[in-house]
């Protein structure tokens, strides 16, 4: 990782004439620059260390992990930019497909209706998270930690250690998790690209995005200027929950099965991806592309370490160290002041 030498610390020195030399400078000042360099370096290192890094199996493993973590991270990023956290997304990542599976496999409800119903349940969870946080003015950290345990208990109650399996080519399953022809990629990567594009646009180009930044940046002035800060927060809770629920359904569709262990620690992985991608822990700053890069980085490190012979779950140690180092360097370099 080269985040420590992040060129973003230099303040913008915009001049009236934008010469060619400034184009490179402008690129280097983008928030995504540091994480991109980090990803490229990581990929380069594993390419050198392992002959199998670019094998189809490996690409499948990395992209499917990155896709689902990335889609969850997009919602988490929207929420973090508006100044809130959601610790319940990991449990919701299992709860939503479990509800979906029970509805259409066990209860034989139309699969589309069942999917819509499951996503509505996810939206309901987000509504509760947002309402509890904004109405009672308690930290979202606590509100969603409570939701984490509530959902964990419900997951336990619904399938308690069993696995829900789906057989046959259900159109919904094909849509969410099928393989892309002969390519080593699956549908989730397409959805990741789709949602990254949608939320990149929403965040940077719409009033809703502007208000999301303003709400997390400094809610006082934003409210004084007429921004509906509570409504923005509540909506982002719903966005975050629905994306986490949908990503969980994608993993179900891709694996053809779901257990209550699905999505374990995803709430923390999603926050990690967002933070590695440059999203501020204090709200008001962050990018969608950065979080997607952060998710790719997490997945690359996870699979890459296995490839070069590190013990199976050692990667979390590495991710933990990386996270702390990146946040320390960002804080020290004053990066969390935020920028356009």
């Amino acid at each position: 990782m080269t985040v420590t030498s992040d060129p973003l610390v230099t303040r913008p020195t915009a001049s009236p004439t934008r010469s060619r030399s400034l184009v490179i400078g402008r690129l280097a000042r983008r928030q995504e620059f540091g994480p991109s360099v980090g990803l490229l370096v990581t990929v380069a290192v594993f390419t050198i260390l392992s002959a199998n890094f670019w094998s189809p199996n490996n690409l499948t493993a990395i992209t499917t992990i990155a896709s689902t973590v990335g889609i969850v991270a997009i919602g988490v990023t929207m929420l973090m930019i508006s100044g809130e956290f959601d610790l319940s997304v990991g449990q919701l990542y299992a709860f939503t497909p479990i509800v979906w599976g029970i509805l259409f496999i066990t209860l034989r409800i139309n699969e589309w209706v069942a999917l819509a119903g499951a996503l509505a349940v996810a939206a309901g969870v987000g509504t509760i998270n947002g309402w509890v946080t904004t109405y009672f003015r308690i930290p979202s950290f606590i509100a969603t930690l409570g939701m984490l345990f509530v959902l964990q208990g419900l997951n336990n109650l619904l399938i308690s250690g069993n696995q829900l399996l789906a057989f046959g080519d259900h159109p919904t399953m094909v849509l969410l998790g099928s393989r892309l022809g002969e390519l080593p990629f699956y549908m989730p990567i397409v959805w990741l690209g789709f949602f990254a594009l949608v939320f990149w646009f929403v965040l940077g180009r719409t009033r809703y995005g502007n208000w999301t930044f303003a709400t997390g940046g400094k809610a006082g002035p934003a409210k004084a200027m007429g921004v509906a800060t509570s409504r923005i927060r509540r909506t982002n809770f719903i966005v975050c929950s629905m994306l986490a629920g949908l990503a969980g359904c994608m993993q179900f569709a891709y694996l053809r099965g779901v257990t209550q262990a699905q999505g374990d620690k995803y709430e923390l992985l999603a926050i990690t991806a967002a933070v590695l991608g440059g999203t501020s822990l204090f709200g008001g700053s962050g990018t969608i592309v950065g979080s997607v890069i952060g998710a790719l980085l997490l997945a690359t490190i996870q699979i890459g370490l296995v490839l070069i012979g590190a013990p199976g779950s050692f990667y979390v140690t590495f991710i933990g160290l990386l996270l702390v180092v990146v946040v320390i360097s960002n804080v020290r370099l004053g990066r969390f002041g935020g920028r356009e």
Binding site: R205, T206, N210, F213, P221, A224
Partner: protein
Amino acid sequence: MTSTTLPPVHDVDRSLEPLFDLRGVNHKYGRNHVIFDVDLAVWPGEVVALVGDNGAGKSTLLKIFAGYQPPTSGTMRFQGQEVRFASPAAARDLGIEAVYQDLAIVDQLSLWRNFYLGKELVRRVGPLSILRRTAMREACEAALADLGLTRIRSADEAAFALSGGERQSVAITRAMHFGAKLLLLDEPTAALSVRETRNVLADIRKAADRGLGVLYIDHNMVHVLPVADRIVLLELGRVVRVIDRGEVDAEELADLVAASRDHDEVSSRRPTRRN
């Protein structure tokens, strides 16, 4: 930008209807009577300074002006019409803009995003309100240049790079741009350098010269002297003195300033402006 000597007296036509007019205003917080029979009017094109110690009732009056709370008794008129604000938003709708010391700007947003925050120019496409970025960027730069804020380089700059004085100036420009008629400024030069203070005061003067009424609230007369047309001294909730720039002789003014400056050096560590 401005001279460091006392500025000339400005002509304010007080035969016209005042912009905002408080008559016999009293305010109580529970049993605590904080404002006593205050009459206070601001005419268009006039900078009125409301000066008083902590606890004199400045903030309470500001909140009444800005619509945060109605007075316990007394009348408020805006452009001749009696008003009673249900909320600050109601006051803003009439063109009363309050600029608070720390509440003006969201650091993480660029200048033009700050400028248009809450009043974005958008193009509606289905459920989306898409920002008209170029239009806002250009209009923001034009508005800032119009006020002479040439020290601001680009509307794309993030607001956290702005100094305290530039923030105040941007907030004042924004209020003018969106059709404010009455500006309420709460200690706009507190904690600013001498040079920055001068810039902010010049912007306040420009706003008044364009016909806005300005109510400038400060704890120290030295801060408001270079720009105020009238200075209203408030003590323990009562107006104790109204100083009209044209009616007070230089010697008396100097005495008042000296008293105020001594007081300032004893009671606070805010930067003092030297005249």
